[in-house]
């Protein structure tokens, strides 16, 4: 009985993390190239709305996901053009887009509120889903979850195993040097901003077509964009660690639900914000784990080294800085 509960819980975590995994991987790609797309919270909502509206009108899930990916890329394009080519503050543009896309989603999505539309259905993998323990957790899911697994591996291999990935990292670490080596820095950055935005768009669609089906004000995905941005920092801009962060967060969310059942007198909204203080706490932990004193302490206590190392992670060196040096223009 107890074991069964555990399996159900883990399966729920894997399913619940699906949209976040898309979003954090997308943002990791963007930030690795040295650009911050702060607009995630609004982009997620806007693409969730677009996905639901398109699917509702056409009946095609594929079109819904496609439209959402285009929406995400379009919003990211604004950040890219303003930040990379026009030298404006990426933070400012991203923040404005966060608010504007959210309001745009509420405004345009109004006619689609509280309607019942098509959803992504579970698609168990034959044979694999009959494995003990792992089967129900990993292979009794929907297509989005399998795409998640695939994407985590793919992004990791792309970044650290291919020449393109090397160029991507070079552009984020040292754009001037990359430029000197003949890389078109701005074009590459724009490319990864678009790709990352498209993935965030898919994440939005995953919310409104699968994890939190339907559209409304509020939709239920509010705040997730900010969480995703924090998870990217938590995962130290490494695709696998970032994905782990998304799963950890989904697990905490599940715990929150069970806590809520224990203290029904506390309003649900209080538990919904629990991730945010946690996010601050984790960021604090990351900061202090990189202090000299902590490292010295860890050297004397070898068991703690893996833990401390997990919290290490450095931002791409030129993250968020406008490419003012007339790179590639």
């Amino acid at each position: 009985m107890h074991e069964l509960n555990f399996i159900v819980l883990l399966a729920g975590v894997v399913a619940g993390a699906a949209p976040l995994v898309f979003a954090v991987l997308g943002e990791t790609l963007t930030e690795k190239a040295g650009v911050i797309n702060l607009s995630l919270d609004g982009t997620l909502l806007l693409s969730a709305m677009v996905a639901f509206a398109v699917t509702f009108e056409t009946g095609s899930l594929l079109l819904g996901f496609g439209a959402a990916a285009l929406t995400g890329a379009a919003v990211a394009a604004v950040v890219g053009v303003a930040g990379i080519f026009l030298g404006q503050s990426q933070l400012a543009v991203g923040f404005v887009l966060t608010l504007m896309c959210r309001d745009l989603a509420y405004f345009l999505g109004n006619p689609f509120a509280r309607l019942h539309g098509p959803q992504v259905l579970p698609l168990p993998v034959p044979f694999l889903n009959e494995l003990p323990v792992l089967g129900p957790i990993l292979f009794h899911q929907n297509l989005l979850v399998y795409l998640n697994f695939l994407l985590i591996g793919l992004v990791w291999f792309y970044m650290y195993g291919t020449r393109w990935g090397l160029e991507l990292r070079a552009v984020g670490e040292h754009p001037q040097a990359a430029y000197a080596r003949g890389i078109n820095v701005r074009r590459l950055q724009m490319l990864y901003v678009l790709a990352g935005g498209a993935l965030v768009g898919v994440a939005g669609a995953a919310f409104s077509l699968c994890t939190k089906p339907g559209w409304g004000r509020p939709q239920g995905a509010e705040g997730m964009g900010w969480i995703a941005l924090a998870i990217v920092i938590f995962g130290g801009w490494h695709p696998v660690k970032v994905a782990c962060g998304a799963y950890l967060f989904a697990w905490l969310q599940m715990m929150g639900i069970s806590f809520q059942n224990q203290w029904p007198s506390i309003p649900a909204q209080v538990f919904q914000v629990a991730p945010f203080p946690l996010m601050i706490f984790v960021l604090l932990l990351m900061h202090f784990s990189q202090k000299r004193a902590v490292e010295q302490w860890a050297e004397k206590h070898p068991w703690s080294l893996p833990l401390i190392r997990f919290f290490h992670g450095t931002a791409p060196a030129s993250l968020g800085q406008p490419a003012r040096k007339r790179l590639g223009s």
């Binding site: 030298g87 404005v96 945010f276």
Partner: protein
């Protein structure tokens, strides 16, 4: 931030271009929602400036928006992104409510109103200080620290409304028990807006201008904001000045929350800040971080907010249209400005090259 190209003509050209872009965009959005655009604009205008009552309502929104925007002047000047204004407004409202709860039934209601303002400013300031300490001591980026604290402040207020401060009988989203009228900030006959709050806000605008322009504090904030690494060379402790800027900004946001309680709702409600904290950031950006423009832009934004309230009833569309217009306006301004700057840069480079060529010839 943009000293060079800021001639009057340049501003006018950029303004016209941005407004054109926003008008086209908003019209497209309205058409997409199958709402008649002209009627939409008419309702926005009539709903905000159509009568004295409406204008008073706009001014009620203008007060917290301007206070928050003035507070942001300090933090932006020193180079901090104080995204936590929203939470600071919440904390201010809670601080003020706490003070007023003590003062119910007191013989000196005026004293308690003053005390509530102090408590509100203090609570907002402390909340901002927390975000500042997280940044300076804990290495937590102020965007994430501030944002996290926003959600925390919001949930504290929900907990208070549904828990310790709940209405006798049943707790509800309509907020705490309203205060007796002697603890309300007095307002003029027929107007819902408090003249005290208006006067105070004007004083804050003037005070902020004076502080930033012609005191040592303003100079220090600017110096640290201009170059954090060079600041210690002039004997400026960057971390401490950042904390001061945060406290000043948070204090003003807290006062905005106080006025929401004492002057507008006369109780604590779950949406006490009405997202003015986030909107204030847009106001400051559109004002290009200049104090002079803030009161006017804040008034315009407040008018949009008030004007859009009746849209759901009249046109069956969502009231978030105001947010779309405000966002589009800031975005268009940033893009147009960036584009013109780039064009000017290219022209300069061209002239320089030509001049160089002539010298060679």
């Amino acid at each position: 931030m943009r000293e060079k190209s800021e001639t009057l003509k340049g501003i006018a050209v950029e303004l016209c271009m941005s407004l054109g872009v926003v008008l086209a965009f908003t019209t497209a959005v309205l058409l997409l929602a199958k709402a008649p655009p002209l009627q939409g604009y008419r309702y926005l205008l009539e709903g905000s400036l159509g009568s004295w009552t409406k204008i008073a309502q706009v001014l009620t929104v203008w007060v917290p928006l301007t206070l928050c925007a003035c507070g942001l002047q300090y933090t932006f000047r020193i180079g901090l992104w104080n995204i936590g204004v929203e939470g600071q407004v919440f904390m201010g409202a809670m601080g003020a409510t706490a003070a007023l709860r003590w003062g119910v039934g007191s013989e000196f209601p005026l004293l308690w109103l003053v005390l509530s303002a102090l408590a509100g400013a203090l609570s907002g300031g402390v909340w901002a200080l927390l975000a500042g300490l997280l940044k300076s001591k804990g290495g937590v980026n102020e965007i994430f620290g501030g944002l996290g604290l926003n959600f925390v402040a919001q949930s504290i207020s929900l907990w208070l409304i549904f828990g310790p401060w709940k209405r006798p009988g049943i707790a509800s989203m309509s907020g705490t028990e309203p205060f007796p009228p002697e603890l309300w900030l007095p307002s003029l006959e027929g107007w819902r807006v408090s003249p005290h709050a208006l006067l105070f806000t004007v004083a804050v605008i003037l005070g902020t201008g004076r502080l930033l322009q012609s005191t040592r504090i303003g100079l220090a904030l600017k110096a640290v904001g201009g170059n954090v690494r060079a600041a210690p060379l002039f004997g400026l402790h960057a971390g401490r000045w950042m904390l001061l800027a945060m406290v000043l900004g948070g204090g003003l946001a807290g006062l905005a929350g106080t006025f929401q309680v004492t002057g507008v709702y006369h109780r604590l409600i779950p949406s006490i800040s009405s997202q003015y904290g986030y909107l204030a950031l847009l106001v400051v950006m559109l004002a290009n971080y200049r104090l002079l423009w803030i009161p006017f832009i804040a008034f315009f934004f407040a008018a949009l907010n008030v004007g859009s309230i009746q849209l759901p009833m009249m046109l069956q569309v969502d009231s978030s249209l105001s947010g779309v217009i405000q966002g589009a306006l800031v975005l268009a301004t940033l893009l147009v400005h960036g584009w013109r700057e780039k064009a000017a840069e290219r022209r300069d480079a061209e002239t320089a090259r030509r001049a160089g060529g002539e010298r060679h010839a």
